[in-house]
Subunit: 415 residues, 2 copies
């Protein structure tokens, strides 16, 4: 990768290097929600950058696009344009003679801005594409000898989730109440969830729609993917267990899902492509893809009790996914289903082979049969009230780092 | 019910009587999509009615609301306002001295306008609330002795569907392709769906949001329901069967769902309330409701082969539903899940006790074991290419008729 300088100083461990330039929506006390990019520990106001004329050479770029409260219209400009915006920003930040240096007020300290959900999500889909996770769940809930269901190696299994309850990092969630069937009981009870869990996921965001009835061929799927975020698919295991047969998860999931605020583009992740696992048996023709289609993104999950510091409980990697994003999107649309700009498609829990890489408390505590000890000496099988869960993710190679920041949310007690 | 006259003539069998006044979005060659109501075989342009000042006495009513391409902003005005708009229209249409008679150009022949999807659907949920349907499916796919799963009488089982692929009556659907596991085969194949089906449903539309984390108590649910439409939840049975374990229906459903264009308000349906089935065992406290919470709406399904006339294949009624809309909405939000104006919540297939009232070909043909003969002598187990499926619905009592019109769509061959 060509070395780029940056006149904004940041340290080596910074997620938001000059190689990244992720897009998000921020506001300040005096600025309404608008498009920005993250660089070091700063947020650059793109509405302001556009106003100063720095994007004037980019055709078909309405400056108002940057003053909107979601990225949807920006993303909808299309990759040729959004790529130009990104590379223009890289140039502005790396050239020592950059005139952008004359506008220090366009930069805000990241700690001083409020971040918003980056996109309006039309539809949200959740896959189930980690073979380790699906196997672990199958062993616990069904048959250890036949943990993977017959369709799993043929289909990137997925289901529709709730778009309305996707929130941004920093917003708290409330422990849900619902119906739970206690072991050995003859009837369910209505009570607060006792087995509250996170799921470590990543989600990709659609950048280009297809028309209803027109599948996206697998070789064109990347044209339709704008970028990615970290994603915590909160799960109420006891509610889910009682409700999910035969139509799948519903109230066990739809009380909230949390996304990180900075959308890292596929272009920024390009350098971190790796081969995925070998798929056996061979997949159907419409799911066959060439080359390196997984991404080497280190993932970490932390839990902190109230007023305690973060304790790492999982260390996983997005490269473990059995089904890749191209396959997920080709499958999703093979029946003609249409996707729209801003739609989120999440990976499903990302677990690795080792216990230390499991992406949910369900797996880490093996359905509550063992405890995890945090730094403060307290233990967890599932999440307690006032716990804060943080997920981090970053790709790193040859001194180049492209990170996602974090998705962080606190669990409030049930009402 | 107080008798109302109407100076627009229509016959007794007309769905769009003065007692109805359903809202929809229509356009003509010269008029962009806007809000209208149906009366007899006419569509009344409410943007025009507002412009002429007929709504001037209604407070907080921005006239621009009627010039929009969805009903969302109109619905979001809230029931006190939307009810006033409806009763004002009833008065304008029933008073013999009505000045609206001076504006014949505000009325369009229904056959001359184009109807659009009435709302922007943020999230779409599909329930499974007919005990007859759930029992029939359980008998066919699982165990005839234990057809209903243990949770069914405790939970209005539901799942999230696809909002992007909801289309309006009149738009064709395309037979989906996908993975199918042939009986006795060792691996699935990729092929056009062979078991294409309709599902006779009704859907209600959210009229008022709740905040994430704040359930809607059952006694307040009706404040959040604006009205209803007919709904055809197209289903690819062979794709669904192979994919649906363990996370529920996905590509077997999300290629299309069709809705009728006229939203009939809860107020118009008030006169047709009836008691629902007795629920045993007793439901959880948060699902307990008083009074008559089902609606007596006659439902019919027709199939027509290419260039053939409609043959009725089912005659059902919305009053058969085991779980009512109040319970569905209370359940949906009991975990704090938020709903938004325009969200659609569909009933699930509405089947009755008799074979003649089954709401899907899956049940009518009993999983393909018997045929239905149409008027032209042709037979069906599932849907053929170029078939047109039409669903109709109307409530009728003491000479008062409130109908939904129809949802009608043609099945195009797979690409």
């Amino acid at each position: 990768m060509r070395k780029l300088n940056c006149w904004i100083a940041y340290d080596e461990q910074c997620d938001f290097s000059i190689y990244n330039i992720p897009f998000g929506i921020f506001s300040t006390k005096s600025k309404s929600p608008r498009v920005g990019i993250a660089i070091g520990d700063k947020v650059l106001d793109l509405a302001g950058v556009a106003k100063q004329g720095f994007f004037d050479s980019i055709k078909k770029l309405d400056k108002k696009t940057f003053s909107q409260a979601t990225l949807n219209n920006f993303i909808a400009l299309g990759k040729p344009t959004t790529k130009k915006v990104r590379t223009t920003i890289q140039k502005l930040l790396s050239s020592k003679s950059s005139k952008l240096q004359d506008f220090p007020k366009l930069f805000h300290k990241m700690s001083s801005v409020k971040m918003h959900l980056p996109v309006h999500v039309g539809d949200y889909t959740d896959f189930y594409s980690s073979i380790e996770h699906a196997t672990n769940v199958g062993m616990m809930f069904r048959d250890p000898e036949n943990a993977l269901l017959p369709n799993w190696r043929h289909i990137p299994v997925g289901y529709h989730g709730r778009a309305s309850s996707i929130i941004v990092s920093g917003e708290s969630i409330r422990r849900p109440k619902g119906q739970i069937m206690p072991k050995g009981a003859s009837r369910p009870k209505y009570a607060p969830c006792r087995l509250l869990d996170f799921e470590l996921e990543m989600a990709f965001i659609i950048g280009k729609e297809n028309q209803l009835g027109n599948p996206i061929p697998i070789e064109k799927t990347e044209d339709h993917i704008f970028g990615m975020v970290l994603f915590n698919d909160w799960s109420a295991r006891d509610i889910q267990k009682w409700e999910y047969v035969p139509l799948g998860p519903f109230l066990g999931k739809n009380f909230a899902s949390s996304a990180s605020p900075w959308v890292v583009t596929l272009e920024a992740l390009e350098y971190f492509r790796v081969k995925g696992p070998i798929q056996k048996p061979a997949v159907q023709s419409y799911l066959k893809c060439k080359g390196e289609n997984n991404y080497d993104v280190n993932l970490e999950v932390y839990i902190a009790g109230e007023k305690q510091e973060d304790s790492m409980v999982s260390q996983s990697n997005f490269k473990y996914m059995y089904w890749n994003m191209q396959q997920q999107l080709a499958h999703h649309t093979v029946n003609g289903c249409n996707v729209r700009v801003g739609d989120m498609l999440a990976s499903g829990t990302i677990s690795g082979k080792d216990e230390s890489s499991y992406g949910s408390m369900l797996e880490i505590s093996w359905a509550g049969s063992k405890e995890v000890t945090l730094k403060d000496g307290s233990t967890r099988k599932f999440l307690k009230d006032n716990d804060t869960v943080t997920m981090k993710g970053y790709a790193e190679k040859d001194g180049v780092r492209v990170g996602f920041g974090e998705v962080r949310s606190k669990v409030l007690p049930a009402k």
